[in-house]
């Protein structure tokens, strides 16, 4: 699409995010919510929807929903209740989903992204459905049945509905990322998009810039990565603008994102299923949430990502570093311990976002699974700050520390890595290097000054990287110039 046409339009995006709450047991049944176990081993008569069973609400679910609501600046109404949402699908054993219709647990909040405030309409509790496994997928061609695993059925979900306040796929992504950060920091959801513990439906419409009335929206399902969210939105923008430009109209419908084909597809034919005939769930009593209850939960609120970022920046971190570390809660908690031990913040953060983060990614570990302790990192940072070892040596031994839990000082002593800062000792080596490379010296003097790096390298080789780089540079220039 040409940019002129594209520029005429504005996109309007609202997101519905389903967050699986990290409880041990299901929302209305005592079955385990663990992920990835053998099919149908986490079920009970309640989960199967057998006659005569009674669902009982899990108190932790309510606590987590209140905590989330508070973190998202929502109001927690004094009263809320549960409703039945009726639809027939084999992953829903009862023939209805227990949800909250007109009296949700959280209302009217907001979340800030990059200086913009995104409204949150509401957040309500509901139960997850089971999983359908299509028998055809594993090679049984022409199979005429599907398989159902109900382990996930009844897992608590908090559906967080935003206002249509986002105006670009970047904003939608930023909202999703910040929401994920918050959910992880308050410990209610592990935010794993690929495993589906956090899922997102996007409501997208386009309108002419400056227009006051939103266009007809399409609801996009099945976006399960940040990248897919952005791609799906970009695709929808173009599809809808094309329709409008050709004088056709956008149909209000649900569309499925196909990540392989990179397009959305209409789920037409399922439209009339959207008659959910909600009514109050007779098996569950309403909730009355007192101010005291809310206050009790409020007291457990940890530092939120935004406050954490701002605190790190006030310590001298760049916005980039602060953002990177806050996106990794475990690393941030580790960093908080390091800060308490009064280490140089900049050097510490460089290790954490550099070598440590790279190692964790490579080995697929979390920081808690390595042997590195905040105390050991601080000792290493202090050795560098005092000039006992060079930064480069530090970057080498951090890996031994991660793997073996050894203290920095003991590695330095054992391997003789102490930095040579004694000018006399370095001078001798510099002299030697200059003497044994007459050709390079001649080229350098003839103006090829970039050869300085070569000389530095030679000195470092002689000293096994232990020479103080600043002293080496100074002395080399003295000898060569």
């Amino acid at each position: 699409m040409d940019t002129v046409t594209r520029e005429k339009y504005e996109v309007v995006i609202g997101l519905e995010v389903h967050a699986q709450l990290k409880t041990k047991s299901k929302i209305f049944a005592p079955d385990s919510t663990e992920f990835g176990n053998e099919q149908n081993t986490q079920i009970s008569p309640i989960t199967l929807g057998m006659p005569g069973v009674l669902p009982v609400l899990n108190k932790s679910v309510v606590d987590m929903a209140i905590l989330t609501g508070l973190a998202l600046n929502c109001k927690i109404p004094n009263r809320c209740k549960f409703d039945r949402k009726q639809y027939f699908y084999p992953d829903l054993p009862k023939g209805y989903q227990i949800s909250q219709y007109d009296e949700p647990i959280c209302i009217g909040g907001c979340l800030d992204i990059k200086g913009k405030r995104i409204g949150i309409t509401r957040a309500h509790l509901e139960e997850d459905a089971g999983k359908l496994v299509h028998a055809g997928a594993d090679g049984i061609a022409g199979s005429n049945y599907s398989l159902v695993d109900l382990n996930r059925a009844g897992t608590p979900l908090l559906e967080i509905v935003s206002e249509p306040d986002m105006r670009s796929s970047d904003e939608a992504k930023a909202y999703m990322e910040e929401l994920r950060n918050i959910l992880r920091y308050i410990g209610v959801c592990d935010g794993n998009l690929e495993e589906g513990s956090m899922r997102c439906d996007a409501n997208i419409s386009v309108m002419l810039k400056g227009s006051k009335e939103f266009g007809t929206r399409a609801e996009i399902k099945n976006v399960n990565s940040f990248k897919a969210l952005q791609r799906a939105i970009e695709y929808e923008i173009e599809r809808q603008i094309d329709l409008v430009e050709e004088g056709e109209r956008v149909v209000q419908e649900t569309r499925l994102w196909d990540d392989n084909l990179g397009e959305t597809r209409s789920m037409r034919g399922k439209e009339d299923a959207h008659d959910y005939r909600y009514f109050p769930e007779p098996d569950l009593m309403p909730l009355e949430i007192s101010q005291e209850w809310v206050e009790r939960i409020k007291e457990t609120m940890p530092e939120l990502p935004k406050a954490k970022r701002e605190r790190y920046m006030s310590l001298g971190l760049s916005e980039y570093d602060a953002t990177v570390i806050v996106e990794q809660p475990e690393l941030a908690f580790f960093f908080d311990e390091v800060i308490k031990l009064d280490a140089n913040v900049k050097t510490s953060i460089n290790f954490l976002t550099g070598e440590v983060a790279a190692y964790l990614k490579e080995e697929k570990l979390s920081i808690g699974e390595t042997k590195l302790t905040p105390e050991n990192l601080v000792e290493l940072v202090n050795l560098i700050e005092k000039g006992t070892i060079s930064n480069n040596i530090g970057k080498q031994i951090i890996f031994t520390m991660l793997k073996e839990g050894t203290s920095a000082a003991s590695i330095v002593e054992k391997q003789g890595l102490r930095q040579i800062s004694d000018e006399g000792a370095i001078k001798e080596i510099v002299q030697e290097v200059v003497n044994s490379n007459p050709e390079q010296v001649a080229s350098y003097k003839a103006g090829k000054v970039q050869l300085l790096g070569f000389f530095v390298g030679q000195v470092m080789k002689e000293t096994k990287g232990r020479a103080n780089p600043k002293t080496v540079n100074e002395l080399l220039k003295e000898f060569l110039d």
């Binding site: 047991s25 005592p30 149908n40 899990n58 699908y89 359908l132 599907s146 398989l147």
Partner: protein, 93 residues
């Protein structure tokens, strides 16, 4: 008043296939039920708060504890068909 169209719609949502005869029968039956319940509208409810339940209980909750009482085998006994520990249902999609 309930019409045949309403019955067809509800039957479709419930994935039920009804014969013409059944449609007529259910239209009348459902209509009668609604008419019966409609008598409730004769009661003066001025000043009465809407309620979702007949009882006054609130906050009925349990602790977040995993309890595993029945085995998978017991629970799946009633399944008309199963395969490798999955329930079998007609092909979807």
């Amino acid at each position: 008043m309930i019409t045949v169209k309403d019955v067809e719609h509800v039957a479709k949502l419930a994935r039920l296939e009804l014969s013409e005869e059944e449609k007529q029968k259910f239209t009348k039956q459902l209509g009668d039920i609604l008419k019966y319940v409609e008598q409730m509208n004769e009661v003066d409810t001025t000043g009465v708060k809407p309620m979702a339940h007949a009882f006054d209980f609130v906050n009925v909750m349990r602790d977040d504890k995993v309890v595993h009482e029945q085995t998978k085998e017991e629970l799946m006994k009633n399944a008309p068909e199963e395969e490798n520990g999955f329930f079998i249902v007609p092909k979807i999609g």
